[in-house]
Symmetry: C2
Subunit: 194 residues, 2 copies
C-alpha cells in the first residue's frame, strides 16, 4: 500500500493539510499500524492533485506559510474504495531495534539489557494511551477520522484501536512477568561462562 493510497484514506475523514495527514500517522488514528513521512506525503499529494483525485484550497495565513487544505474529489473517493476492494493486503511487518538488540542480551552489560526493556515498556505504555479513542487530550482535529458526524467512534476504528491496546497490554504484562527472570538467567549464564 503506497503513500498515495494512504493519503486518500486519511482524507476519507474530511479535509486536511499535508502536515495534518502526517500527524495522523505520527500521533493520530493510524499511528500504531502505518507510517508515512512528510518527504513522501507532499509529493504524493502533488501527484494526486495532478491525477484529479484530490483538490486543494490555499488558505493564506498572516505571518505563517500558506496552508493547502486538501480534499477528496468524488473520483478520489471512488478510487480509494475500489482499491480497498481489489487490493490484496501486503504482509504485516514489525520492525524493532530494541527486540533485535535484546536478542544479544548475553553480549552486553545487564544494566543495558534492563534499560532496553524499560524503554520498550515505556514506549508501549505511551502508545497504549495514544491509541485510546476516548482519550481526548489530543487536539480534536487529529482524531477527526474514525468518528461519525455525531462524534461517535466508528466500529472499524474501535476494533483496530482495541486490537492495538490488547497488543500493548499483552506486551506490558509479559514484561512485568518475565523481566526479572531474564535478568536472573543472564546473571547465571554469565557466571557459568567464567
Amino acid at each position: 500500500m503506497d503513500v498515495r493510497t494512504l493519503c486518500l484514506g486519511a482524507l476519507m475523514g474530511g479535509e486536511a493539510t499535508g502536515y495534518e495527514i502526517r500527524k495522523m500517522f505520527e500521533d493520530g488514528t493510524f499511528s500504531h499500524f502505518q507510517i508515512a513521512s512528510l518527504g513522501s506525503i507532499y509529493p504524493a499529494l502533488t501527484k494526486l492533485t495532478q491525477d484529479g483525485l484530490v483538490t486543494f484550497v490555499e488558505h493564506e495565513q498572516e505571518n505563517r506559510p500558506d496552508k493547502k487544505v486538501y480534499q477528496l474529489t468524488s473520483e478520489g473517493r471512488r478510487t480509494f474504495l475500489r482499491t480497498l476492494l481489489q487490493t490484496r493486503p501486503a504482509e504485516d511487518r514489525y520492525r524493532s531495534d530494541i527486540l533485535f538488540m535484546l536478542t544479544f542480551a548475553e553480549e552486553m552489560p545487564i544494566e543495558l539489557t534492563e534499560a532496553l526493556i524499560d524503554e520498550f515498556a515505556a514506549r508501549h505504555e505511551l502508545m497504549n494511551q495514544q491509541i485510546d479513542p476516548e482519550n481526548e487530550d489530543k487536539p480534536g482535529v487529529i482524531a477527526t477520522y474514525g468518528r461519525d458526524d455525531d462524534g461517535a467512534p466508528r466500529p472499524g476504528c474501535c476494533f483496530v484501536a482495541g486490537l492495538g491496546q490488547a497488543m500493548c497490554e499483552a506486551t506490558l504484562k509479559f514484561i512485568r512477568e518475565n523481566k526479572q527472570g531474564l535478568l536472573d538467567d543472564l546473571r547465571k549464564f554469565k557466571s557459568r561462562k567464567d
Copy 2:
C-alpha cells in the same frame, strides 16, 4: 539500524551465506521483528567485506551457483558489540495494511471485513508457530543463532520469542472475543444509514 548492522548481528551466530541470512529475517530467528531483503543484504555483505568486518570462503558446488559463506572477522565482532552499546534504538514501527483497511470497515461489504480479519488471524497463527524456539520442524541451520554450543536456546532469544508469542496470542484472543461483535455493529451501522 541499517542492513549492514543487521548482517553483522546475523553472523554473530556463526557463518552463513547471504541467502541464509535472508531466511533468518524471512522465516527464522529475527522474522517477527526485523526485515531485510536480498536486494539490500548482498550489497551490505560486499561493503562489509571491503571494510574488513567479514570474510568469505567460496564453496564450489556441482550444478549450482557458487556459495559464498560469510564469517565475522574479529574486528567485525568488535564493531557489532560497540554498535550494540552505543546505538540509541530507533522507534518501533509496525506496518499493517490489513489494520489500515479495517479502519474503513464501514465502507466495504461485511464479507470482506470478515475475510480480512480471518486472514489477519491466520497470519498470526502461523507466526506464533514460527516463533516457537522449540518448534524444530524447520531446518536446523536457520535457527542456528539463539542457541548455545550445547543446543540450549539463549535467554535473550527466549525472552524475545516469548514476547512475540504473547503478542500473537493476545491478537488471536482479541479476535476470538471481538470479531462477531464488530460484524454485528457493522450490520447495525449499515441498516441505520438506510
